[in-house]
């Protein structure tokens, strides 16, 4: 009961504060739209919100899934081999340090017109780094005794990975995945905003900008926040199922 009530109350307080802030300062729409301006915007473009919201969501999820696959693979390679870790780490750090906003036009030019591919690609590129790092750290910090217990029984490397290394890394993995979810949304939207004739919520935001429809721009931001929260909690549920053991009861 409390778990549902407290977040909702917090959200209502936030919206009231926002509405009040705009009202007190008497800000016009183009400076800051208030929550009461958003409903009409949502309603007017409800069809677009649904189709574009779906567009943004599936691209983000696909990008994230690729990020998980590639990130786990890199993480495993770096976690098990010191040489690979030494070789790959600087490359990955350098790649991650490049602001993705600068990569967006490059990718857009590279695959002109492939809007879906471009968007998924940026979502993937921006979000795989934390996953790779967390998996590699999880694997490389596995206490040697764990390995010895299984190795002394004649277990293969694969068995050790499957029975110990993988489950032991899951809490770190899910921690990274929570960060990656938000990053993937940023990636998707970067591309959607920049691409001409794009689709998705980012494109809707851009058209709001072009048409000076400020409430629409704010409404898009709220829609993105809602999608972000939803996907985040999907990860939380998965974490509870697969790594719930890592949570200590606080009672």
């Amino acid at each position: 009961m409390r778990q549902v009530f407290v977040p909702i109350l917090a959200m209502i307080i936030f919206l009231l504060f926002w509405e009040g802030l705009v009202w007190v300062n008497d800000w016009p729409n183009y400076k800051m739209a208030s929550p009461s301006d958003l409903w009409p915007a949502f309603w007017r473009f409800k069809g677009l919100f649904l189709t574009f919201g779906w567009e943004t969501l599936w691209r983000t999820v696909v990008g994230l899934l690729i990020a998980i696959a590639v990130g786990v693979l890199f993480g495993m390679v770096m976690g098990f081999s010191k040489v690979m870790r030494e070789g790959l780490y600087p490359l990955l750090v350098g790649f991650n340090a490049i602001p993705k906003a600068t990569v967006v036009p490059i990718v857009a030019l590279m695959f002109v017109g492939q809007h879906d591919l471009n968007t998924v690609l940026i979502a993937f590129m921006i979000s795989f780094f934390p996953i790779a790092v967390s998996v590699s750290i999880g694997l490389s910090t596995l206490e040697p005794e764990y390995r010895d217990i299984l190795r002394s029984l004649g277990a293969s490397q694969l068995t050790i990975f499957w029975k110990i290394a993988l489950p032991k890394t899951l809490p770190e993995f899910f921690g990274a995945l929570k960060v990656a979810v938000t990053l993937a949304f940023i990636g998707t939207n970067l591309m959607e905003i920049v691409s001409p004739h794009g689709r998705g919520l980012g494109a809707l935001f851009d058209s709001g900008k072009t048409n000076a429809d400020y409430p629409l721009m704010f409404a898009v931001l709220i829609a993105l926040a809602v999608l972000g929260i939803a996907l985040y909690y999907v990860v939380v549920v998965l974490e509870k199922i697969f790594a719930g053991w890592a949570e200590r009861s606080t009672d």
Binding site: E143, D148, S152, L153, G154, A155, K163, K168, A243, W245
Partner: protein, 267 residues
């Protein structure tokens, strides 16, 4: 001093080993020879960092000696074998498994023809023996340090290994819990036949649990002194506080002092 006997279950014959570290070569063992008879229980003591744990890794087949050989039951050890059980200072239980699932882990790896229910009753018997009945379905995080170590002992024994290797298993426990676990060890020895090697820093623990106490010299380690215990098998804690026990402790303490002296660079 010929301590090697071909009939012994564990034979370490003239083993030398050197680790290559960043700061150069580090010789840890120097022509070390020792043996443990079948169903015997030997404690290995020595200055810290003298290579005691290296001895256990050699016996378990996790490490190959540079020189010399290690034999189990007349067969040379060249790779890990499932006839060994290990327990460490860190109980390394798998946090995502219940206690009984932790104990069952070796049976998932070692080839055996036990049915699922046979495995479980085997694990349950062991848990009962160490006083963990009723905790089968708890998570390791719900248990105290002593209880985790008991579960770790069960896991080390569940596949009926011939050799049990204990690497300072009670080192992190408080004094009372440690004495409880010593008694548990004697109970296990009565019920489960195994040949034991115990690495420890605690001389009292060594003379209470072992049939013979082997003192290693400082690094690179070799056998410096062997003390056979007058009493083999189970004994009571009272004996540990008798003058005879103190006398033996003094002898061993003196040996450790000599071992540590040998370690210091000559002035």
């Amino acid at each position: 001093m010929n301590i090697l006997n071909d009939n012994d279950l564990i034979v370490i014959d003239g083993v030398s080993h050197t680790f290559n570290t960043n700061s150069g070569n580090l010789p840890v063992l120097d022509r070390l020879s020792l043996s443990v008879p079948e169903n015997g229980f030997s404690a290995i003591v020595g200055p810290s960092g003298c290579g005691k744990s290296t001895v256990t890794r050699l016996v378990a087949g996790l490490l190959k000696p540079d020189e010399g050989s290690v034999w189990l039951q007349g067969e040379e050890v060249t790779s890990p074998r499932s006839t060994v059980g290990m327990a460490f200072q860190n109980p390394v239980l798998l946090e995502w498994r219940s206690i009984i699932k932790n104990v069952l882990l070796p049976l998932e790896i070692v080839p055996n023809d036990l049915s699922a229910s046979d495995r479980e009753s085997r694990a349950n018997d062991l848990l009962k023996l160490v006083g963990l009945s009723g905790f089968e379905d708890k998570r390791p995080s719900e248990l105290s340090g002593g209880m985790r170590q008991r579960a770790s002992l069960c896991r080390a024994l569940v596949h009926r290994p011939e050799v049990l290797i204990l690497d300072e298993p009670f080192g992190a426990l408080d004094a009372f819990t440690r004495e409880d676990l010593w008694l548990t060890m004697h109970r296990l020895r009565e019920e489960e036949p195994f040949t034991g090697v115990l690495i420890t820093h605690d001389l009292r623990e060594a003379i209470f649990l072992a049939d013979q106490v082997i003192v290693l010299s400082g690094r690179p380690a070799t056998v410096q002194y062997i003390q056979s215990m007058p009493q083999q098998g189970p004994r009571s804690l009272d004996q540990l506080y008798k003058p005879e026990a103190n006398e033996m402790l003094n002898i061993l303490r003196e040996q450790i002092r000599i071992a540590r002296k040998g370690e210091e660079p000559a002035a």
